[in-house]
Subunit: 229 residues, 2 copies
DNA sequence: CCGTAGTAGTACTAAACAGTAATACTATAA
DNA sequence: TTATAGTATTACTGTTTAGTACTACTACGG
């Protein structure tokens, strides 16, 4: 929980104080210091900072008391502000040329790989082939639904149980943690995944590489079909 | 622009490097150091960090080259992650008791005041009275639209020109930067605004205070109506 | 072949700043 | 006298920024 709150620009101590406010609304700085086991100077500093950041409210009086701003409100405000910043950034950025047809980009870490795959899926215009284990496919449920709802051809190879209305699904008792994703026969993302920060994938738009992986996936599908007879 | 990017967990140096990648895709760390006027050790550190954070991609080769992740993708990923964190935080938080009927909360800073007002507006179930200058009313356009679309009674007192379909609007050549907001005859937010961090407002649910401000607003409306005859 | 210049990358040190931890002090209320 | 309330200050640790030093490689001219 503290970690999640640090995503919203709070220091660990501020996050701890915020959580304390939640279970003890209308407290004084002195009480917070005692509850948190931190010095009063830090408690007052944290409360002041929380108030500035819109996570707490001051009930002025003698003594001053503090209340938390509801988490959905505080977090929602922060996210909305970031959306605005994003709009400003995106509208001020030039278009970036697409490097994918020139070579091979290395994507490291599960998080970045999953983010990259999501982005590819959302930008797909015609068809998508994805082959990945059951533990990973769940990350893409929303994007795959979006695609099937928008009449893209979606072919999925994964472990049972997995179902998705509108998609063509091949069940395979695949071992190992490999990801293969092809979108619009133009981009491929492939490599190992589910190894935390150590996962490494390759992202490319090179036509020959795409063709090689398309053929590999088609062969995988044929083998599954043969096995089902 | 650097400031906006620091909202997305980049240091200022990383943000500067990211912007450089945008105008110079497929560069080496050595080139980045020269363009940014920073030491090569910092350039490599920044590029490594940007790659970890999902803002840049590595084109492995001799030498290594780097490309930016498109800003909408990078920022979108970050915001999505924060939404997830928000969901976790919100679902793990107990309901917080409402302190508003007990006293007077102090809200400081334009940003927090506007955020608080937005929250009050979105939670309004029946009617809203708001009196504020034209330079501020624009912050609430979206929320006010939402209210009128959802059949809440919305009464607005502000400077011309301002219009909103479905709301009752009284034009007033008001001076000074005062905000008065009453929602559902139960909550009031009032004080000065448009003074940056120095603005201070009071937020309360005390019935007598709400009644006093309701009467004050009704009087303001009567005066405007008389003037228009 | 050697020397020079430029490129590529990493290891290390240092200053400034931020976050955390703590002490000391003043003032007030119970 | 004790507890509460709040601020000022110092110290330590970690991060960010700035920089130096070093090794290794490539290209080019003499």
């Amino acid at each position: 929980m503290l970690d999640k709150l640090t995503d919203f620009d709070l220091t660990r101590q501020e996050a701890a104080v915020y959580l304390l406010l939640y279970s003890n609304p209308d407290v004084t700085g002195y009480e917070i210091a005692k509850l948190a086991g931190i010095s009063r100077s830090n408690a007052y500093a944290a409360l002041s900072s929380l108030t500035d950041k819109g996570a707490a409210r001051l009930l002025e009086g003698m003594p001053n008391r503090y209340s938390p701003v509801p988490a959905d409100e505080f977090c929602g405000n922060r996210i909305r502000r970031m959306r605005k910043s994003m709009d400003i950034i995106v509208s001020n950025m030039p278009d970036v040329s697409d490097p994918l047809s020139e070579g091979y980009l290395t994507i490291q870490g599960d998080r970045n790989i999953i983010d990259t795959a999501r982005s590819m899926l959302l930008k797909a215009e015609k068809r998508v082939y994805i082959s990945v284990s059951g533990s990973i496919i769940g990350h893409f449920t929303e994007e795959l639904c979006f695609l099937t709802e928008n009449k893209r051809k979606v072919v999925i190879i994964t472990n049972p149980p997995f179902d998705l209305s509108g998609a063509i699904i091949y069940h395979s008792n695949r071992q190992g943690n490999q990801l293969r994703l092809i979108t619009d026969s133009r981009r491929v993302l492939t490599g190992d995944i589910d190894h935390g920060k150590e996962s490494t994938c390759l992202l490319s738009g090179k036509r020959n590489l795409v063709d090689v992986f398309k053929e590999a996936l088609q062969n995988e599908i044929k083998l599954i079909e043969l096995r089902e007879k």
